[in-house]
């Protein structure tokens, strides 16, 4: 993507609160889209660039949410809670990675699913710590540099700043030697080993990058809702974010953002007008799989280049051949 197009897109996004017709409601939806987009961008590092599909990522996203909620509810300063939430989630990511990277393909998917469910189960059952089904709620958002984030527009800009930083970091990472090596482990793990790369460690670091993005997104999700509940840790959340990545286009930077906008748009906007919005979302996913199996962003790019061209063969690793 050209830098000019990225800058134009970000400028349009930054100007959103100035022209959104729905006022603060729409601005809040835009904030949510950016939060989920960061979550999806992080997962895309695993799904798209490492060829490792995780169904336990909500465990990390929700864990950051819970740590921050628990600490803030206990009276800890917001900035300490934020650092602790990200730090502890990175540690949990490392634990997830060590366990899940014992396998690849379906094994990896099943281990991550199990790990996510364990975290969800703890949130659900350890009522004295997590509040069980009731979750943990607080009534304050942070106020960085004395700026209150209680209303939609300041919160939007705080989220926008986080989104730009995370997008920049992920972009930088996937174009770096380590990011390129991660892609290499997706396509030819055996060759990568023969070339001197530590395939396991590269995947582990990729998992940490993904966990970091999940933690930051989880933290902002908590700021937005001022609430942590077991729902954020559920398999549904993990599956939704995987769908965002796949629908938008794995191994692209724009794809997860478009995927997040699509899912959130259906959930929060279309659901106001259509009772069976879930059915519509399902139909859209089926259409994407049928006509643009590579995802919306690469699919539309293909059609723009050569209308009527057949979809490209799936990239190995992610959804095609299972990496070893």
């Amino acid at each position: 993507m050209k830098p000019l197009a990225i800058a134009a897109g970000l400028a349009a996004l930054a100007a959103l609160p100035l022209w959104m017709p729905g006022g603060s409601y729409d601005v809040n939806i835009a904030s949510q889209v950016m939060i989920w987009a960061v979550f999806a961008l992080g997962l895309n590092v695993l799904v798209g660039y490492a060829g490792l599909v995780s169904l336990g990522q909500a465990g990390l996203f929700g864990f950051a949410c819970y740590v921050a909620a628990w600490l803030v509810a206990a009276g800890t300063a917001q900035w300490i809670a934020a650092i602790a939430a990200i730090g502890f989630t990175l540690v949990l990511s490392a634990v997830f990675a060590v366990l899940a990277l014992r396998g690849t393909g379906i094994s990896f998917l099943m281990i991550t699913l199990t790990l996510g469910e364990i975290v969800w189960g703890i949130a659900q059952r350890w009522v004295s710590l997590t509040g069980g089904d009731n979750g943990i709620s607080v009534s304050t958002r942070p106020a960085p540099f004395g700026i209150s984030l209680d209303t939609a527009t300041p919160f939007f800009y705080a989220t926008f700043a986080m989104f730009v930083v995370m997008l920049g970091l992920v972009w930088r990472f996937v174009h770096s030697p380590l990011g390129v090596a991660l892609r290499g482990t997706r396509d030819q793990p055996r060759r990568m080993g023969a070339l001197g790369y530590n395939v396991w460690l590269i995947r582990f670091l990729g998992f940490l990058v993904s966990g970091f993005a999940a933690a930051v997104a989880g933290l902002f999700f908590f700021y937005y809702n001022e609430f942590a509940s077991p729902y954020v840790l559920s398999l549904t959340t993990s599956a939704e974010v995987v769908l965002m990545v796949i629908a938008g286009g794995a191994a692209t930077l724009l794809g997860p953002i478009v995927g997040a906008a699509l899912v959130l748009g259906m959930q929060d906007v279309v659901s106001s007008y259509v009772a069976h919005w879930n059915l519509m979302l399902g139909a859209i996913f089926v259409a994407i799989i049928l006509f643009m199996p590579e995802g919306l962003v690469p699919g539309l790019a293909r059609l723009a280049r050569r209308p009527g061209a057949a979809p490209a063969a799936p990239r190995p690793g992610a959804f095609g051949r299972t990496p070893s």
Partner: protein
């Protein structure tokens, strides 16, 4: 003088099947060694054991006197061991230049850098250009591997190994599936490998490979049957019995 590569009484057993049954061989520094043998003789398994793709059941492997038997495959690359594959194992969706740059990066500390731009690394770009030029593919540097001909992909295989300037290079059937002209091109490429680099090659195409070899080792049923110069091995009755069908 310490051999470049030494294999001592190497064994590999898969379940009840013994594929490598006590292979011992010693390859001198700078030597061109040809490994021959019928299908199933254990040649590629021997390569996989040497590179660390497989763990031996018994025996030892030494690289310039250093015991590498227990060393991870990736570490062997850093000690100067490189290989090509019988089945082309490249990054098909990437350009030839990207493939070679990835090979160059594999033995550099900056492969861990999470922020630097990979595709704008001037040193890597220049080195990749040189390697592609060496294998005669500089004009295709920006073409994706999947869009190149099979013979060109064979040369990219060799380019990836050469990029790391290994001390010992293992070539697994570099002429497999090539036309007569392509075989001549690859033979010229192998012939131009610097003399200091030790080359061990598996090959069935005797016409193309024999001229490149200083010594030949004949394997059968996971054992070294005959070893010697070209004339010695060809003249040996056991060679005719197990390989030449004489």
């Amino acid at each position: 003088m310490t051999p470049a590569l030494e294999v001592r009484d190497l064994h590999k057993v898969f379940g009840g099947l013994t594929v490598t049954n006590g292979v011992s061989l010693s390859v001198a520094a700078g030597e061109r060694r040809l490994l021959i043998g019928p299908n199933g003789a254990g040649k590629t398994t021997l390569f996989n054991l040497i590179t660390g793709d497989l763990r031996p059941t018994g025996g030892r492997i030494l690289l310039f006197g250093t015991d590498i038997t227990a060393l991870a495959g990736r570490r062997r690359a850093h000690l100067g061991l490189a290989r090509t594959y019988q089945i082309i194992t490249l990054f098909p969706n990437e350009t030839l230049r990207h493939n070679v740059m990835l090979a160059l990066l594999g033995i550099l500390p900056r492969r861990w850098n999470p922020l630097r731009r990979f595709d704008r690394d001037p040193a890597l770009l220049a080195a990749a250009e040189t390697v592609l030029d060496q294998v005669g593919l500089a004009h295709l540097a920006l073409r994706q591997v999947r869009e190149t001909a099979y013979g060109e992909q064979r040369r990219v295989e060799i380019a990836l190994a050469l990029a790391q300037r290994p001390r010992v290079l293992l070539l697994d059937e570099p002429f497999a599936g090539l036309s007569a002209q392509e075989r001549r091109d690859v033979a010229a490429l192998i012939g131009a490998i610097p003399p200091a680099m030790t080359v061990v090659m598996i090959e069935h195409d005797m016409d193309a490979a024999l001229d490149l070899a200083d010594r030949i080792t004949l394997l059968d049923f996971g054992l070294v049957v005959v070893e010697g110069t070209r004339a010695e091995v060809v003249a040996d009755a056991r060679t005719r019995a197990v390989y030449l069908g004489g």
